[in-house]
């Protein structure tokens, strides 16, 4: 099987997700190429070439690819799709937007959000907010898929893969990028963070919620929130953890004032350890936490910050 991966990168750095994607690809096929598409991304290609198990890096470097929009990526990949039996991306903003669009153009039904590879054609993926796992086999002659990179360990970087610049048709996307709306609060991408601190609606005000960022600084953690906290305006949209938001797989998740709605639990199930602080001992999250602390977060949080400072 020939496998094409799309590289993930962030602000001129190859994302750790790509090394994990390669390890998933190794369980699917032998000849693995990585497409690095973007503008001014030669150093990303150099980084990707070090990943073990990779044969070729395909470099598509052009200003039209700067935003890696679904339409331009789709146009680029559809013209090389015949060379591959499988095309994979990680689950992220770009992969989620691009793989289904490409699927429609190639008339292939994709398998998305893969968390486990049983065989090169059989996969596990979560359904119903992660409350059930579906085992699904691909019956088509091509596989289009997105992989939850958090479920795989990264490959090492001792390789020196061949880098080939590829020719492609340049198109202008119908969608024009206006501006980036980034919040500076999060130190790392939530889905990659080793420690995540989550806050729920119990914080009531943004001032209270902002205490979490102090604690996050002390622990080197990223801050996430429940859907309810986001809807109350306590935290930005992109910090929402859950079925409809980010899926996290940290070593430690500390939940403050979070009851544990099903859709939130779906996003944190991959956490190795969970510590929950809640005034209600009967809250669902307290029943699944490795460590449960019953108390008022408005008293506990300042004390905790003081003791860790």
């Amino acid at each position: 099987m020939r496998v094409l991966l799309i590289a993930d990168y962030d602000e001129n750095k190859l994302s750790p997700k790509t090394a994990k994607l390669v390890s998933a690809a190794i369980s699917i096929g032998k000849n693995i190429d990585i497409l690095v598409a973007g503008f001014d991304v030669k150093n990303i290609a150099n980084e990707a070439a070090k990943l073990d198990g990779v044969s070729n890096i395909l470099l598509a470097d052009d200003e039209t690819l700067k935003q890696q929009g679904a339409q331009v990526l789709c146009n680029l990949v559809k013209n090389i799709a015949d060379d591959y039996d499988a095309i994979l991306t990680s689950v992220g903003t770009i992969g989620r937007a691009f793989i289904p669009r490409l699927s429609a153009v190639l008339d292939i039904m994709p398998i998305t959000d893969i968390i486990e590879i049983i065989s090169p054609t059989t996969f596990n993926r979560p359904i119903y907010a992660g409350n059930a796992i579906k085992t699904i086999s691909n019956l088509q002659d091509k596989l289009l898929a997105t992989i939850r990179s958090g479920s795989f360990s990264p490959v090492a970087k001792n390789n020196n893969a061949n880098i080939k610049e590829i020719e492609f048709e340049k198109i202008t996307s119908f969608v024009k990028f206006i501006k980036s709306i980034r919040t500076d609060n999060n130190t790392t991408d939530l889905s990659l963070a080793q420690i995540v601190i989550g806050g729920g609606q119990a914080f009531e005000t943004k001032e209270n919620f902002d205490m979490l960022y102090k604690l996050a600084d002390l622990l080197g953690a990223s801050v996430g929130a429940t859907r309810a906290a986001v809807e109350l305006g306590l935290a930005p949209n992109e910090s929402q953890i859950g079925q409809s938001g980010k899926i996290i797989t940290p070593k430690l998740y500390i939940a403050f004032g979070i009851s544990g709605a099903l859709q939130h639990l779906a996003g944190i199930n991959g956490a190795e350890k969970i510590i929950a602080i809640n005034s209600d001992p009967e809250a669902p999250i307290m029943k699944i936490a490795d460590v449960a602390f019953v108390g008022d977060l408005k008293e506990i949080l300042p004390q905790l910050i003081k003791k860790l400072s």
């Binding site: 679904a70 789709c74 903003t93 989620r96 937007a97 691009f98 289904p100 669009r101 699927s103 429609a104 153009v105 008339d107 292939i108 039904m109 998305t112 959000d113 059989t122 979560p126 359904i127 119903y128 907010a129 992660g130 409350n131 059930a132 579906k134 085992t135 699904i136 691909n138 019956l139 088509q140 119908f174 969608v175 990028f177 206006i178 501006k179 980036s180 709306i181 980034r182 420690i195 622990l219 953690a221 949209n237 079925q243 409809s244 938001g245 070593k251 430690l252 099903l262 350890k273 510590i275 307290m286 699944i288 936490a289 490795d290 460590v291 449960a292 602390f293 019953v294 905790l304 003791k307």
Partner: protein, 249 residues
């Protein structure tokens, strides 16, 4: 713009705790409450708000599913859609076929804008918007948390970026987009007077050959309750015990 098309899905209500059938053949959907997929509600609410702002004249709502999808269409009409199309299918359709059926309806109805929910909370696929945009070769903007339409240009905030495109286009709705309105019973009664057309999936000439096989559906391994602590020093110890083993983060 003249028309917005919104597609909605009938799913197991998101507050229902699902049960997996003991033979692993799927999720038990007998005698459970169904409702409109929450993300579809956000999509419909966005369309209604655009109509209220006089940015659109008509909202057409479509659902593809069994006869029972009629009830979510009534909810949609009660919320403010103008007319409904139910595409009846007894067979579960994969997202690619849903997108193809919608493509056919769009070629007939010619809406300038299509808004869908970003994913359905049963299959959690998150495919249809992008597939539809690919089939139509239209602009797509997924995960919208803000939509503005001015002079035929859609301005959309999606995730951490703001984008713009000339209509037509397909947008998928995220949670932060709006607060969907509630409907009271009298509104549902009035909604029954609005036009609802029923069509059969057979007339769409879809290729129904199986593309994948569902081997089994299983429950998640459950997490067990751990220890309960009651003072902050213990909490500090527990946090340090885990974080000290992490090394540099």
């Amino acid at each position: 713009m003249k028309k917005i098309l919104v597609a909605v899905k009938r799913v197991v209500d998101h507050n229902v705790k699902i049960r997996i059938k003991s033979d692993g053949s799927g999720v038990d959907t007998d005698n459970v409450r169904f409702s409109m997929n929450p993300f579809c509600k956000h999509a419909l609410e966005a369309a209604i708000q655009l109509k209220e702002q006089k940015k659109a004249e008509e909202i057409i709502v479509v659902s593809i599913g069994t006869k029972k999808a009629n009830d979510v269409l009534l909810t949609a009409l009660a919320m403010g859609a103008d007319r409904a199309i139910l595409v009846e299918s007894e067979q579960d359709l994969v997202t690619l076929n849903i997108a193809k059926a919608l493509q056919k309806i769009i070629s007939e109805e010619k809406p300038e804008l299509v808004i869908l929910g970003k994913q359905a909370v049963d299959t959690d696929a998150n495919h249809t918007t992008q597939m539809l945009a690919g089939l139509l070769n239209w602009a797509q903007a997924t995960f919208a948390s803000k939509i503005e339409i001015n002079n035929n240009i859609a301005n959309v905030v999606r995730g951490q970026e703001e984008v713009e495109f000339n209509l037509p286009g397909v947008i998928s709705a995220d949670l932060g987009l709006n607060k969907p309105r509630n409907v009271a019973l009298p509104m549902i009664m009035r909604a029954k007077k609005k036009p609802l057309v029923i069509r059969k999936i057979g007339e769409f000439n879809l290729d129904l050959k199986p593309r994948s096989k569902i081997e089994k559906t299983s429950a998640l391994p459950t997490r067990k309750q751990g220890k309960i602590i009651s003072n902050v020093d213990e909490l500090v110890d527990e946090i340090k015990k885990i974080t000290n083993n992490l090394g540099a983060t």
